[in-house]
């Protein structure tokens, strides 16, 4: 039987197409990641608190990492694997600083992520995000996958209030709407399925826009390994209390100047008076200079300047950048003893 060249071409084309399809899609990665992601059901269900979430298996013996949130405020938490098996998990350890909790379920030989092997990528990198966002998956259904790119790698500053997040450190910001109800504890990977980060809470940034962030596993690795190894069961805020600033708080007068009265929410930090023969006078500061940076932090109001002063301890440097007309002038104080 003879093969017409056209047939050969057609077969070659089909082969090529299937190859291309693989090349275009991230299906291999999705297949390998999904069995390692679990659905978690726990406390919540009131107001805007979801009673569902996501976790990632980090050991073959049933250790599951997730975000430490209200979901776990329950005696037992239901964990449903991607194959539909259902387990009760209990919290064996948490690290509030890293905003992470480890659950344990009674299961063996699970597919898992090795948290010691993580990837590092920069802005523009293509990524996949896996989570049970909005509880779309139930039973043996795998969790939702989204694609996007890394928008930025930046520092998240811990904040209080409505959008509380205790974590303070490096995060990936994702150009995809990943952080919706139920997504916390999900996993961010490269398009070839390598581990990047854990999806965080729903959070608003300083620009009043929602942040889609994930904490890198390179940061989470240590607490995960410590908790699994039983090196501690709970790492909480007891130690951090010792680091609270002491009674000595500084006022602008300690540096030899006074600011204009703080009258509105964002009063600019203009110098009002310079005390004669003070350090400020010696450094050449003048009335009407505007403090714009203090120790590298943008001073957009007197309030933020006072926050910087609150963190000072004697012997520190206080570097100020002031605007005078169109010039920026840098001066450095040494924080005096009180």
């Amino acid at each position: 039987m003879k093969y017409h060249p056209a047939w050969i071409a057609a077969i070659a084309f089909c082969l090529m197409n299937s190859q291309l399809a693989r090349a275009e899609s991230a299906s291999d990665a999705v297949e390998s990641v999904q069995p390692k992601v679990v659905k978690i059901f726990g406390a919540g269900g009131l107001k805007n608190l979801a009673s569902y979430g996501t976790g990632v298996i980090v050991s073959p013996d049933g250790h599951i990492a997730t975000v430490w949130n209200h979901l776990l405020d329950s005696d037992a938490v239901a964990v449903v694997l991607s194959d539909g098996r259902r387990f009760y998990g209990r919290v064996i350890g948490t690290d509030s600083k890293k905003d992470i909790a480890i659950l344990k379920i009674d299961a063996q030989d699970l597919p898992f992520f090795d948290v010691s092997k993580t990837a590092q990528v920069g802005p523009g990198a293509a990524i996949l995000a896996f989570s049970n966002v909005f509880k779309v998956a139930t039973g043996d259904e795998p969790v939702t996958v989204m694609q996007g790119v890394i928008s930025a790698k930046t520092e998240l500053s811990a904040r209080r209030g409505r959008y509380k997040v205790p974590y303070d450190g490096e995060v990936y910001l994702v150009d995809a709407v990943t952080n919706n109800p139920g997504a916390a504890g999900g996993v961010l990977t490269t398009v070839d399925g390598r581990l990047l980060g854990m999806l965080g809470r729903e959070l608003k940034g300083r620009n009043n826009t929602w942040l889609n962030y994930a904490i890198p596993f390179s940061v989470l690795r240590e607490p995960i390994e410590d908790i699994i190894a039983g090196r501690f069961s709970r790492r909480d805020d007891l130690l951090s209390a010792a680091n609270q600033p002491g009674e000595t708080t500084y006022e602008p007068i300690d540096f030899g100047f006074l600011l204009v009265p703080d009258v509105v929410a964002r009063t600019p930090a203009y110098l009002d008076t310079i005390v004669e023969e003070s350090k400020a006078a010696e450094l050449g500061l003048q009335p009407d200079d505007l403090i714009v940076f203090a120790n590298g932090e943008l001073v957009n109001s007197i309030r933020t300047f006072k926050e910087v002063l609150d963190q000072l301890i004697p012997g520190d440097d206080l570097q100020l950048i002031v605007r005078r007309g169109d010039d920026l002038i840098t001066v450095t104080f040494i924080v005096p003893k009180k």
């Binding site: 293509a126 928008s151 300083r206």
Partner: protein, 690 residues
């Protein structure tokens, strides 16, 4: 053909040959293009060809990787032209929008330190603006000056004292294609590298021709930053724009929605020299009005020419059709809006105009300000026949004293049949006709009185401010059948899909065959005053056929921007379920809620015809007095209060802007006395005056 999309071409570009030709046109070796990106693009192209020739060589994931690399290199190529902007001081609330304190983004447009950015970044009116620049060895701060702004496209130009900067390269506007890759950049999170959001170009010529649209995520994290292509060329500056509204914060509510806008850099460069000279740019106005506001409207046939406007000076007349502006043919009204939307005051446009069977050319120098439109009036109240009643002409219900109508001898119960020979059959038709005429003009009316037909000449007077106390009797609505499912009297109601209550008072005498007036009561912060309002207004509303509506703020302690839509939805619900006369819908607020009511009346111009602001002076500049959407305003002020002076100034200002504005005295602030409600209800009952 994913490969082709990767390359940044429209997904319709189906064949290699076509791509090659497009590719070579892009690859004209201009010195501005980022060479690394270009090389990479060539590389991807070659690899793709290679891959097709040898299928086995296709490496899984390679396409993701290559696209990723192309994006990262394009971003790296423009990174040094993107600056971070930080502001010091400033207000924390602009209107109802809470301004963020985070950094924003700008783009370098000249080597000597001019930076273009979105005006959104300065809405808080900051005391000082700082710019952070990325240089080879790190970042450096500069103090910045605001040089000029573009009020039409909401852009601001900054200047820093620096030299040897790297300005961004503009993409050629005519080569931008829908479907091509677009990367939105900001410098708000990490100073060392821009934050990235990727998407495609979704549309061109949006927002009256001012912007291109993208599905990359735009928000305060990248407003002012560039939207670039895969070659690292800037297609536009990202800005919050809204097709429906103008203002610094309009369009922000659309952030991260998949609908984002960027102002083409090429258009900005066209006017850059005007801006560097410190000139504030305004949208160019021609001064013509059209019959239809609909986007589906046909030819640009002029309904109205504003006196002393550029159109007037260019000798345009009513019923002329504009068929060409410069080299652009105008087939439909929307074409004209797109062309003029992109022009500035001070620019001259060439017009080709069709008048009857002739066409002629003219030139108009666009302006930024038109003389305020002055509403005129005959001085009558029209009758309100039943909806299903067939009437010839428009009946006269009441003739106000000392008006053109009174002087010409028009009487109640006369039927107006024609005005200047044109047959009129509804009050709305008369209103539209009057809007094309000027105060002082003499018009001819034919009216029937009993069996006689008369011709009267009426001189149009300016619309009265409405604060004289004329006692005119109410029109009684005859009782009719009210369907069982329709609620009357006072009741609570929710919108479908919402769990917020609002209250409604419908007079028991409601008759769906007659149009009713409507008053939306915006309660003051912390107190719905529901019982008080109902008690003082109920009898008057029954007498004059007015439906009262009381939406509630989501948080009873105050109205916020998110409540605006709710109030509109509530108003729409009433209009849909009850028979409402569109010319008699008014909104009323007291003290702090008066500000919110004013904002709503100015925002939903097509909806509200009356505004009552009690003890609440104007807090922001009023819009143009627009002949297409008449708005009558009444301020209520008690004597010798703190706000009295400011209210009187507001009245003065609005009258100067030609809004018919009444000042009505009350005995005591915050109290609905019998006399006050009696005056207000008559004012409401005269909203349909002609």
């Amino acid at each position: 053909m994913r490969v082709l999309e990767l390359m940044g071409f429209a997904s319709r570009g189906g064949h290699i040959v076509q791509v090659r030709s497009q590719f070579s046109s892009h690859a004209q070796p201009t010195s501005h293009q980022a060479p690394t990106t270009l090389r990479l693009a060539t590389f991807v192209f070659v690899v793709t060809l290679f891959g097709i020739a040898f299928p086995a060589a296709v490496n899984a994931q390679s396409l993701f990787k290559q696209e990723q690399q192309a994006i990262q290199q394009a971003v790296a190529a423009v990174s040094s032209s993107i600056v971070r902007i930080e502001t010091v001081g400033g207000v924390d609330l602009v209107g109802e929008v809470l301004t963020g304190t985070g950094p924003t983004t700008g783009v370098i447009v000249s080597a000597d330190g001019y930076i273009i950015t979105s005006s959104f970044n300065f809405v808080s009116d900051p005391a000082s603006v700082l710019v952070t620049l990325i240089e080879n060895d790190g970042s450096k701060n500069y103090a910045a000056k605001i040089i000029a702004s573009d009020k039409s496209k909401m852009l601001t130009l900054l200047k820093i004292e620096a030299s040897g900067l790297k300005p961004i390269t503009a993409a050629v506007k005519s080569e931008i294609k829908v479907g091509q890759r677009a990367i939105a950049l900001g410098r708000t999170f990490d100073v060392s590298f821009p934050n990235i959001s990727t998407g495609i170009i979704s549309a061109l010529n949006r927002v009256n021709g001012k912007a291109i649209q993208t599905d990359a995520k735009t928000s305060p994290v990248n407003y002012g930053g560039p939207l670039i292509d895969l070659y690292g060329r800037c297609m536009g500056i990202i800005a919050p724009l809204s097709p429906q509204q103008e203002g610094e914060t309009s369009g922000v509510e659309w952030y991260d929605s998949g609908i984002g806008f960027a102002v083409p850099l090429e258009d900005i460069q066209r006017v850059l020299s005007r801006m560097t000279a410190g000139e504030t740019l305004h949208r160019g106005l021609l001064g013509v009005g059209f019959e239809s506001q609909s986007p589906l409207a046909g030819e640009a046939k002029i309904l109205r020419v504003r006196p002393n406007s550029p159109a007037d000076e260019a000798d345009l007349k009513i019923n002329d059709v504009i068929i060409k502006i410069d080299e652009h043919t105008i087939n439909r009204l929307v074409d004209l809006r797109q062309i003029l939307g992109n022009r500035y005051a001070g620019e001259t446009v060439k017009l080709v105009v069709k008048r009857a069977d002739k066409t002629f050319e003219s030139e108009a120098k666009l302006t930024d300000e038109l003389l305020a439109y002055e509403f005129n009036s005959l001085g009558i109240l029209p009758q309100r026949p039943a909806i299903d009643e067939e009437v010839q002409g428009v009946g006269v219900r009441y003739v106000f004293e000392n008006t053109g109508a009174a002087k010409a001898g028009l009487n109640p119960n006369d039927q107006i049949k024609t005005i200047n020979g044109q047959i009129v059959s509804t009050p709305k038709e008369i209103a539209t006709l009057l809007s094309t005429m000027e105060t002082g003009q003499s018009i001819e009316l034919t009216v029937t009185r009993g069996d006689d037909e008369l011709t009267l000449s009426v001189s149009l007077s300016a619309m009265p401010n409405g604060d004289g106390s004329t006692n005119f009797p109410p029109l009684t609505i005859p009782p009719g059948d009210v369907p069982k499912e329709l609620k009357t009297s006072r009741f609570n109601q929710k919108l479908t899909g919402s769990d917020r209550n609002f209250w409604v008072f419908v007079p028991e005498s409601y008759n769906a065959n007659y149009g009713h007036g409507m008053l939306v009561w915006i309660h003051p912060s912390g107190d719905t005053m529901e019982a008080d309002v109902l008690r003082s207004w109920k009898d008057f509303c029954i007498a004059r056929g007015i439906i009262l509506v009381g939406p509630r703020a989501e948080d009873i302690s105050g109205w916020s921007a998110t409540d605006e839509k709710h109030v509109k939805d509530v108003t729409d619900w009433v209009t849909e379920n009850y028979s409402i006369d569109a010319s008699r819908i008014a909104i009323m607020g007291s003290e702090d809620s008066g500000v919110f009511a004013t904002r709503l009346a100015f925002k939903y111009r097509e909806l509200f015809r009356g505004l009552i602001a009690m003890e609440s002076p104007l807090r922001f500049p009023p819009p143009d007095s627009d002949p297409d959407s008449r708005l009558l305003i009444a301020f209520v002020a008690a004597p010798e209060t703190r706000e009295r002076d400011r209210i009187e100034k507001s009245v003065e200002l609005l009258r100067k802007q030609k809004f018919p504005t009444a000042l009505i005295d009350s005995e005591e602030a915050g109290k609905f006395s019998f006399d006050l409600v009696n005056s207000l209800v008559q004012w409401l009952d005269s909203l349909d005056q002609l």
